[in-house]
């Protein structure tokens, strides 16, 4: 029994949509799970009632709404509510696709760097374009912190500029690496159970209890990580947007 923890990340084209230049554009398993995430969010937000006393589904929809809204208000202020649809879409898309990805035999959309990088760059350019459009050149004051002595200001500015342009990198790699590592760890531990059972017979069945327990524990940890990484992605988006809204620190 061979453990292949990487196999779960394979992109399998289901059918071809068309060609752009030299690239074949296919509807892949990744596309399918993006569609699943969009469908789940749509059902949650559109099929739930709008009763005065909410039912279960409506409660979940309202809790998601209030949760994202309060996160934006507390980090980016009332003006940040302009970006409510964007941040809500990002949070729900990442959260739902992460949670769906925990189900065995499914695919995790956010375990691919290209997807997280695209989302992080979307946030980066939103911040940059909105910041410059709203504040003009004053936006670049975020690189010049207050109260820094003149002689180290160039160094501080260099660090600030560097950190600003590295934001999409850390923003995307954090999510990607968390999902990737979590799923590899789950697969490896789950693989041990099967490997022990098939190769060692009765002793293996007993010995498999420990990795099985670890797999169960890791799965619950992954549920936490799935939510937490979506939250981290959303709150970092809020913090970056706060720079664009209030560049004066």
């Amino acid at each position: 029994m061979k453990i292949d923890p990487i196999h779960q990340f394979n992109i399998e084209p289901l059918f071809t949509l068309g060609h752009i230049g030299n690239h074949t554009i296919a509807f892949t398993n990744s596309s399918l799970y993006m569609l699943v995430a969009v469908a789940i969010i749509s059902i949650l937000m559109l099929a739930s009632g709008t009763q005065l006393i909410p039912g279960r589904l409506q409660s979940v929809a309202e809790i998601s709404y209030e949760f994202v809204a309060s996160t934006i208000r507390s980090t980016a202020g009332a003006e940040g509510m302009k970006f409510f649809p964007l941040i809500f879409s990002l949070f729900m898309f990442i959260c739902v696709s992460n949670l769906v990805g925990i189900i065995p035999y499914t695919f995790t959309v956010s375990s691919h760097l290209i997807v997280t990088a695209a989302l992080a760059l979307l946030v980066f350019f939103t911040v940059l374009i909105y910041g410059v459009a709203k504040n003009g050149l004053k936006f670049f004051k975020i690189f010049v912190p207050h109260g820094v002595p003149g002689y180290i200001l160039p160094l501080v500015m260099f660090i600030e500029v560097l950190s600003f342009f590295l934001r999409p990198v850390s923003h995307s790699v954090r999510l990607f690496a968390n999902m990737l590592a979590g799923h590899i760890a789950l697969k490896v531990f789950a693989g041990f159970v099967a490997m022990l059972g098939f190769s060692l017979g009765a002793i293996g069945w007993v010995g498999g209890v420990l990795p099985l327990a670890l797999t169960v524990a890791l799965t619950s940890l992954e549920i936490l990580v799935a939510f937490l990484q979506a939250y981290v992605f959303a709150i970092l988006t809020c913090i970056y947007l706060n720079d664009a809204i209030h560049p004066g620190h």
Binding site: H7, I11, P13, T24, S31, V38, S42, L46
Partner: protein, 188 residues
């Protein structure tokens, strides 16, 4: 044309070999650039779709439900406050009414007591006057009776004295000297 023909063949063959490599554990799927374009296109399609659904339908819907509930709660609270104010006003009016009724009852009580007192005083005064008049009359009667009695006493004394003298001496004393003697003894 020849170029494009070759180009179309190239990536297909490349994708095939790379997919094979992935199956044998050689390539790492997240870094296989052949899948990037497909993923980016589907991400763009589905994320834009999600954004449109969220911004045009989902958030106004859920936000509306939350706002409607908030309004309902605020309205109910305002209504409750209004009713509470009303009941407090009613209670205050009742208490005012009660206090005025009580003071009115006290005033009536005082008035009737004063009236009764005055009447009793008047009756007592009348009675006293009557009694005083009767007393004065009685005293007058007593005094006149006494004067009469005293004058009778003098006559009886004079007669008795005349008799006594006549018995003792056998001489009838003259009336004037007897009267003078009686008067002298009455005085003494």
């Amino acid at each position: 044309m020849a170029e494009s023909h070759g180009g179309a063949k190239g990536p297909a063959a490349g994708a095939h070999t790379e997919a094979d490599g992935g199956h044998h554990g050689g390539g790492f799927p997240p870094f296989e650039s052949s899948s990037f374009a497909s993923q980016l296109v589907s991400l763009a399609i589905f994320f834009v779709l999600l954004y449109v659904i969220v911004s045009k339908l989902a958030l106004p819907r859920i936000g509306g439900a939350i706002e409607a509930r908030q309004n309902k709660i605020e309205g109910d609270l305002a209504e409750a406050q209004k009713l509470k104010d009303q009941s407090e006003a009613a209670l205050k009016a009742y208490e005012g009414e009660l206090a005025s009724a009580r003071s009115r009852a006290q005033a009536i009580g005082n008035e009737s007591r004063d009236k009764a007192n005055a009447q009793a005083d008047a009756e007592r005064k009348a009675l006293e006057e009557q009694l005083a008049a009767k007393l004065a009359e009685a005293e007058k009667t007593i005094a006149s009776t006494r004067v009469a009695a005293m004058s009778n006493v003098r006559g009886i004394a004079a007669d008795a004295a005349g008799q006594i003298v006549q018995q003792l001496t056998g001489v009838v004393p003259d009336a004037a000297s007897v009267n003078a003697a009686v008067d002298a003894s009455l005085k003494g």
